[in-house]
Symmetry: C2
Subunit: 426 residues, 2 copies
């Protein structure tokens, strides 16, 4: 089994081919814009299912459009060991975030198929729907539903609308991916879940390492902040008479960054902002923005949020001009702890490919579908380096060698885990 | 002639009636959303033309949709003395900005008609198209074309598009207001131009005065600022590695306000902002905003702009993280000086209605169509108080008494000016 090798050339050329065909921003950029459940997403899904069926997989589509492609094992009573990730991207994302994980899983299935490997457990490839939450707000949406641990259950997710007012359910129907398999781990369960992903940060590269063994996912919370002032004419309202919601917002956003830097508790970001006026001659009366906070522990998330809100209070008091703010919690993912058995399977697999000093245990600073699966089945992840730590950006890049290394470790981790189950160890 | 009085009840009830009928935001608000060249605007224009024709006026529509309703005078070789303003509003504006000026002009025509007054010059009512620039960017657009002094001439204005991609020319055609009269003062000229308007600021109210004799319009310039950073993942990019365009923008916007306050040179406002990301998990790579600067003199505008840009440079240097900014001048209106004869006509008229201590000479801090007409014909304006100085806001309010006072002063100013022309003084 040690001799089993994925095909790097096949993996990388196939990844390039699908990214060029469906959702590419266009040369010279290798950037992607493949929003979930669009026609581009449908095309790559259709292609994926065709490939998996050709490899002898049974394909199930669940109620959230998640694709489960299952290669049978010899055991008749075992659930699949899964390799999951996602094919959707940010509006201006890259070609590796999520996509690499699904392609690596397909490459593992190809390798098993061409080597006629008989596994004990069934082996599944999963494409999770709407991981990015970029079209339908709510990241890792469909794995959250599947885990039944998300605060947004199936019916609520179906009702969420995109900017054009299209509901998730409608979008699933529009591309014929509203499946009948229950989106519920209790009815369509897994033995375990592995995910290869790019790091999306600079830590592996800086430490000059090539493999991250992911042991946890940091906690994260989003807050919707609404700042209210008073409108007025930009020419006639004296500076000292203004209650300018955008100036107040600007001070709050600066404080978000400064507080995160100062406390060193984690990261805090404002990415989405909308201002109520589109006429230049009007002083903004209302601004809405979303603040994203992520820290190693849930306690640190709350501590950073509390510290930021205290600076908000100080700023609004200083402004002393009638501006005010309100906060609403909109989304969160508590810290996720990965499973020792899966972590061990990844580490053992990595050690077969690279020397120990190339490997680093790390937490994931981004959310992933594995964060949800880890709540209901043993889970871990493999990270490979991101050039300059860049992600969610057309300049996202991971070398073909690192992509192949990740896929190879995924293969061995799955086989290693399967072997433990076969032996009755897990 | 001293006995000639406008009808306050008719003026105020008609203003209320048209505002309730066409473009109202709806009770309990008295706010308006009557964007230029929309169906609401068409309906109020159609109504206005009907009223003017019933009063014996000749109506001309020019190439920018400006409505000239002209009541004949006895002199055959004189151009009209005009009373102009606008019927369009901001997206969430009030019922007095512009609208009062047109209604007052109509009330003057009614008063002249029912008293069978024969003026020497023709008397014109003008509804100027797209004063607000809220639908088609570029405030006071059509009076600018008419004056031939605007940097955006007829064909360029026709090509300007609204947010839905409808061109100005198309919009004019859509509501049948693309007229054939040349939009050019040299071919469709005026003897002089008077405009009644609400102050839109708090100065009259604070000084406990009721009439502003407007002697000038302050200079104003708009700048488009583009801030560039680098995108990235909000979870994985360490705080110190970020080049966050929105944080940099926030510091710049705060500096715009603080610099205007500190220098006391004038007012500076950021009203429109767009951020390139609509996915929360992404660090903004690009933000665009528009800065509006207005001061008593053009030199002060430039001085305030220069001081603000210096603080921008300091901030970007402090950020020291790869963010940068670029500036483009987008629109401007140099200071406008009104004509002594028109100013005198307004002052003399005001003195017939109120005691001298009720009257204040003032500059206009907002742009008005009169700023453009003043460049090609004698012009002045009358201001009446705005409650709490609020404008461009549904809470905009001017009392019926002040509306009537303004209309009465407009009537007498026009008649006084006409008398001077008749006598050969002007």
């Amino acid at each position: 089994m040690a001799a089993l090798k994925i095909n790097s050339e096949r993996l990388n050329s196939m990844l390039k081919s699908t990214c060029t065909s469906w959702g590419a921003l266009g040369a010279p950029s290798t950037g992607m814009s493949r929003l979930t459940l669009t026609q581009e997403d449908k095309k790559v899904r259709d292609w994926l299912i065709g490939e998996c069926k050709a490899l002898g997989c049974e394909v199930r589509i669940d109620q959230m459009g998640n694709i489960f492609a299952i290669r049978p094992g010899t055991a008749k009573d075992k659930k699949p060991i899964a390799m999951g990730s996602h094919l959707d991207t940010q509006p201006t994302g890259g070609r590796y975030d999520g996509i690499l994980g699904v392609h690596a899983a397909l490459e593992v299935l190809c390798t098993l198929h061409e080597n006629q490997v008989e596994t004990y457990c069934p082996i599944a490839l999963i494409d999770w729907t709407n991981e990015e939450g970029a079209r339908f707000p709510g990241a890792m949406m469909a794995s959250g539903v599947w885990s039944t641990k998300s605060s947004t259950p199936l019916e609520a997710c179906w009702g969420i609308q995109d900017k054009e007012g299209v509901s998730m359910k409608q979008a699933l129907e529009d591309i014929a991916y509203l499946g009948s398999t229950p989106c519920d781990y209790r009815e369509n369960g897994l033995e375990s879940h592995f995910e290869l992903h790019i790091e999306q940060g600079p830590l592996l590269e800086r430490a000059n390492k090539t493999v991250g063994v992911v042991t946890s996912v940091q906690g994260m919370k989003w807050y919707a902040v609404q700042v209210t002032g008073a409108g007025g004419h930009s020419g006639t309202t004296p500076m000292l008479d203004r209650s300018d919601a955008l100036v107040a917002t600007s001070r709050l956003i600066t404080a978000v960054r400064d507080t995160a830097r100062k406390t060193e508790l984690g990261v805090a970001t404002v990415g989405v902002i909308t201002c109520d006026t589109y006429s230049q001659a009007t002083i903004p009366a209302r601004v809405d923005f979303i603040m994203d906070i992520r820290c190693s522990t849930d306690e640190m998330v709350d501590q950073l949020a509390t510290t930021i809100f205290k600076t908000f209070d100080t700023i609004i008091k200083e402004e002393n001009n009638g501006t005010s703010y309100e906060i609403k919690r909109t989304w969160g993912l508590p810290k996720s702890i990965f499973h020792p058995q899966c972590i061990e399977a990844v580490r053992a697999s990595a050690l077969k490919e690279v020397s120990e000093n190339q490997i680093m245990d790390m937490k994931s600073r981004a959310g992933h579908d594995s964060a949800w699966t880890s709540r209901v089945c043993p889970t871990s992840m493999i990270f490979v380096p991101s050039k300059d730590g860049i992600s969610h950006n057309p300049n996202e890049y991971t070398s073909p060698e690192h992509c192949a290394l990740g896929a190879q470790i995924l293969l061995q981790a799955v086989l290693g885990y399967d072997e433990k189950v076969r032996k009755g160890d897990y």
